[in-house]
Amino acid sequence: MRLALGLLLLGLLAAGALGAPLLQAWLEHDPFLPDLMARYAAPSAEHPLGTDDLGRDLLLRLLYGARVSLSVGLAVALGAALLGTAIGLLAAWRGGWVDAALMRVADGMLALPALPLLVVLAAVDTGRFGLPRGEALSDILRITVILVIFGWVGVARLARAAALRELTQDYVAAARVAGASEARVLWRHVLPNIAGPITVATALAVAGAILAESTLSFLGLGIQPPAPSWGNMLSNAQEMVFNAPLVAVWPGVMILMAVAGCTLTADGVRR
């Protein structure tokens, strides 16, 4: 029930994101070109959800924004899952001071005040590392890296706890006795058995990443306009509340759908 609802929400959003160019061809206007004659247009056949402060079609921008927000969410979750699983497995397998050091780093990351640090990191000038400035792709890359830095901790702790449990099991000892290499024990035996909790943590990480990306973009630190993202579509919402309240409402509904979809999916998988 939860799983079905969650997957339905995510499927709808993914279909919308993939189908955006088709809808654009059908509606025959460009969501990236300002049309100042049609600012804050009411919903109509031509603009199903109306237009924004620059007269761009809101529905199309929401769907293109879904591409940005969902890909950031997925990329962060994959990055966090890979890094977190690797670190968690390493800590559980080596134990001793490696384990202690890695877990203290993880504790430290949890204890840090996340939002101010995100702000500091997001303000770092990527141009100094040789990345092009002001391009949507480099924004996406930067946001992804920043959120992975914060996201791996949760996965690593879960992976470590689950791997510690599995490593004490008899089948691991049996595999070792049978002459399996340590790499094979971890890869073929431990990893498949801890995949469940890691999947749940990854689904929750997608939800967290989408929320974090939209928050940073809302503050003007994430994806920069004119590229649409659900967060930056709200960044000048304060001015819109008087002219066109609905323009400020729709991006939030999209975020709500995406995050609720991920949370429900994670809950559903866990049961």
């Binding site: 005040p113 939002l115 101010p116 702000v119 500091v120 939209s214 509340v241 939030g252 975020i255």
Partner: protein, 286 residues
């Protein structure tokens, strides 16, 4: 912050064309900006230990005079929001645990909904409904002389409380469900205690322990983390101050604000430990 584009004097050069290159070098040496990052940090840390907090470059006043109102503003907002979130979340969670059939599905749905709502969007929607459409409450800002602070606090507090309620709801529900299955609850019921006493005197104190911990951790995190709420409602506070000082290259103010936020977070954790000892006698013996 050292990796951010431009130092304060680059900005000064942009805003004042009369500044010559020689002036800039002189000022840079005066403010110590020609020295490497770690030397500047040590000099700053030494000054703070001597109780010298210096000036804010951005606001051109002593840093302490800005920090204090920001801290009290944030504490009023975060304190009342957390109180509401913890009480409402716990009450709903306990109710859901007592009535697994009637209430639990509703609170489950509510928890997912609250958890998935982006804070900044909820704030905007509340502004649209209560400030723009109904006109009951101000859309933002802080109370001035003779105005009721409560009216200005209402919307930000609701926004922040809603974002934090879900965690309390889930923990209270899970905690109570776990406790109500335990043997001592069956014993209490068997000896004829009224159901109210069983729930509030026996099960609830045990389920409340994790809730106190979360509240303290939240309080610490929110001192610097109420940024979004403070931005939407244009309220002066720590989160906004940290954001503005980082964006404005005001090193001294940003570092002081972060230090203060960390201090409050530590105090909150300490308070949680002590509160746990009050609730849980087992912790007192060790």
């Amino acid at each position: 912050m050292g990796l951010m584009p431009g130092d304060p004097l680059d900005l000064a050069m942009l805003s004042d064309p009369a500044l010559t290159a020689a002036d800039v070098e002189r000022l840079r040496a005066l403010h110590g900006l020609d020295r490497p990052l770690h030397e500047r940090y040590l000099a700053w840390a030494g000054a703070v230990l001597r109780w010298e907090f210096g000036f804010s470059r951005l606001y051109a006043v002593p840093a302490a005079t800005i920090l204090w109102p920001a801290l009290t503003g944030t504490l009023a907002l975060v304190g009342s929001a957390l109180l509401i979130a913890a009480v409402a979340g716990t009450a709903l969670g306990v109710l859901a645990a007592i009535r697994p059939r009637g209430v639990a599905p509703l609170t489950d749905a509510l928890a997912v909904l609250l958890q998935s709502t982006p804070t900044f969007w909820l704030g905007i929607v509340l502004i649209i409904v209560f400030a723009v459409t109904l006109g009951w409450l101000p859309a933002g800002g802080a109370a001035e002389e003779g105005q009721s602070a409560l009216r200005f606090l209402a919307l930000p507090v609701i926004t922040l409380a809603a974002a934090n309620t879900a965690a309390y709801l889930r923990h209270a529900m899970a905690g109570m469900q776990g406790e109500l299955r335990r043997d001592y609850i069956r014993t209490a019921r068997m000896k004829g205690l009224p159901e109210r006493a069983v729930i509030w005197r026996h099960a609830f104190p045990n389920a409340a322990i994790p809730i106190v911990t979360i509240a303290a951790l939240d309080a610490g995190a929110l001192v610097s983390g109420a940024l979004v709420t403070e931005t939407i409602f244009a309220r002066p506070g720590m989160g906004k101050l940290i954001y503005d000082s980082i964006m404005g290259n005001d090193y001294n103010l940003a570092l002081l604000a972060l230090l203060l936020a960390a201090l409050v977070a530590m105090l909150a954790t300490l308070a949680a430990d002590m509160a746990q000892r009050l609730i849980d006698p087992r912790l007192r013996e060790g």
